[in-house]
Symmetry: C2
């Protein structure tokens, strides 16, 4: 199964510490029970990544009781034991794992507030609701909020993944990747192969959008043939040793016309302004505003219709989000994308993206590939 | 993003028909509202596959009202319109999409029973619960039950994917894949590349388990080096044009000792018996029993501790399951794996798996690769 580029488990002491901090948050937030299944909160706190299948794997953490990993018996040998962090509760094919979870919950005492992992499958929650009829369910911002702040090892992993996609961006900008005459899908497959070749265990995405298709920010690469005299937007990333990369660069196939060169100059300035705005203590929405102000002042405001960025770490998208309305102040160790864009429907689009980490010494970019709209001689 | 090997959308008439059948099921099952997000129910009924990200995509189907696809504005251009099947409700970055879903639900009238897709992220359901406080939530066995019965085009897709992994199994059995001296992880990567090379768009899994590791049915391939004089279990599959393959074959690196040869003969007989048991009208549990009886009679019953099989189609695992307690009778078009195994903890393991489709003319295997324990001359 795709285990999302999970790294090997870390020493038990790391998980002991993380579990203790999660329990402290449960205390602060008055959460009686934490339930984690699919998603990366589980490996963050336990070192184990659940298989994305119909057999339930769920870590059951009562505020004042021992954590139990409810896991299919046939998958139990996959788990590296973490003594003092959790015990195992393997279940057989003829047992009902949701009932096991409910029984473990009830044994732990009164359960008023249950926090569930974001990416747990709804089928398990739907089956749990009638078994804990008096409980109030909420999102598990216990572990997700811990994951926002990266430690030195995590930043090093983001840096290594960033350097890998920087190398691919350099190949793109040096004209080493054939573009004209190939389809978007072919170039996407080529980028995907390079993502793995450069050291990622998993390819997450490789958007390739030519000309008018670049006006669709999440364009799905198709059989559109790439031609001379147009812009090509490439947004790609993967997971390396458990941490994600994500970069966007555009190239022009020939000499860009003034309209596109001018717009790109605005985009470049806006992206740089948002990167340098990413200092500790700055509210996330100010990072968004820094880019948006410049794009709006240049008259392109209506053509930049998405937020400026998203947090990144074990997940390609995670907290914190650089979006209007998010007043959370950046802290040292927050990692996020800065990726404004300008999109003219039916004509062309452009985006420029780096990953940035807020540090005590100011924002540090994980990507340093050339930020210009490189004109390729095709 | 990984769109799970989604095929191109089919003609609109296919989705018009599927939506009509889903609505008829909603009527039968007294479901007022169907909500589909991540997972393959959505593309089955609409042709569109949601991106697995934090921006909500959700198809809202009121029993007596128009279906609406709530989708991030920036992803709306990805959707191929299906007139008469659904309308779009794009949402902007500063809107709350869960509130939009709740408003659409309330506009449709009284909402008592809500069916939600199995793989929807729990975060969205948790946010929806307080907005529809009087509703009862259940699993959406509306579309999942429709998906069980494959039509001719779907069976053709399963056959093509099956033929692709059969070719890889033949390469394995012919000794064309280097094994001895490589790690499980290296062979897994090799199989993964072949899965794509043989025509799948997505590699789903490639379990490679040597010797004692083969006793762990879902073993995660690691740095264990494969050696002469041991069994090697390979279980692999991918998604081709929207439909999944899944095959398991074991080879022996050298001449198998009598103990392993004898056990394999039992396994082979058990697997064959379960395949031929898969006739229309037979309860699913009888397929399980057909294999289990033979393995148990030979004295290996305690070493076969998982169900005999799972349904397969757009998902690698889906209804119906070949497991004790499932009395559902097989119908023409049901597709499922038949994969008994024998696992001796700490020593060795073996499994033999084909995909089978129940038809009016009897069970038809999608895999025909050699079923023997091929002894490789290493």
């Amino acid at each position: 199964m795709n285990t999302q580029g999970a790294a090997e488990p870390l020493p038990t002491a790391v998980y002991t510490d993380r579990m203790a901090r999660a329990r402290a948050q449960m205390e602060d937030k008055d959460i009686d029970l934490l339930l984690l299944s699919l998603g990366l909160d589980l490996p963050y706190i336990s070192g184990y990544n659940a298989m994305p299948l119909e057999r339930l794997t769920m870590l059951v953490v009562p505020r004042n009781g021992e954590a139990r990993l409810v896991i299919p018996r046939m998958e139990a040998p996959r788990v590296r034991p973490q003594p003092g962090v959790f015990e195992m509760r393997p279940w057989g094919e003829l047992e009902n794992p949701v009932e096991i979870v409910a029984e473990l919950a009830k044994k732990a005492g009164t359960i008023d507030n249950v926090a569930v992992g974001d990416q747990m499958w709804a089928r398990f929650l739907v089956e749990l609701l009638p078994l804990l009829p008096d409980a109030h369910f909420s999102r598990a911002d216990v572990v997700t909020s811990m994951r926002m702040t990266k430690d030195a090892a995590e930043i090093a992993a983001l840096r290594a993944a960033g350097a890998a996609v920087d190398r691919i961006a350099a190949q793109l900008q040096a004209g080493e990747i054939d573009l004209v005459g190939r389809t978007e899908a072919e170039v996407s497959a080529d980028l995907s192969a390079r993502i793995v070749a450069e050291g990622h265990q998993v390819m997450n995405f490789a958007i390739v959008a030519a000309g008018e298709n670049a006006a669709s920010p999440h364009h799905h690469p198709g059989d559109r043939v790439i031609a001379k005299g147009e812009i090509l937007l490439c947004d790609f990333g993967g997971t390396m040793n458990g941490y994600c990369s994500d970069i966007t660069r555009c190239v022009y196939l020939g000499t860009p016309p003034a309209e596109i060169a001018d717009a790109y100059a605005v985009l470049h300035e806006a992206q740089h302004a948002a990167v340098v705005a990413g200092t500790v203590g700055t509210p996330c929405e100010e990072v968004d505003r820094a880019a948006r102000r410049i794009i709006t002042d240049a008259g392109y405001g209506e053509f930049f219709f998405h937020r400026t960025g998203h947090g990144i770490g074990m997940d390609a998208h995670e907290d914190p989000y650089m979006v209007e309305g998010n007043s959370l102040p950046l802290a040292a160790g927050h990692a996020f994308s800065v990726e404004p864009g300008i999109y003219l429907d039916g004509r062309w689009g452009m985006r420029l993206e780096d990953i940035v980490v807020a540090t005590a010494d100011g924002p540090v970019a994980m990507n340093t590939a050339n930020h210009d709209l490189v004109a390729l001689d095709v």
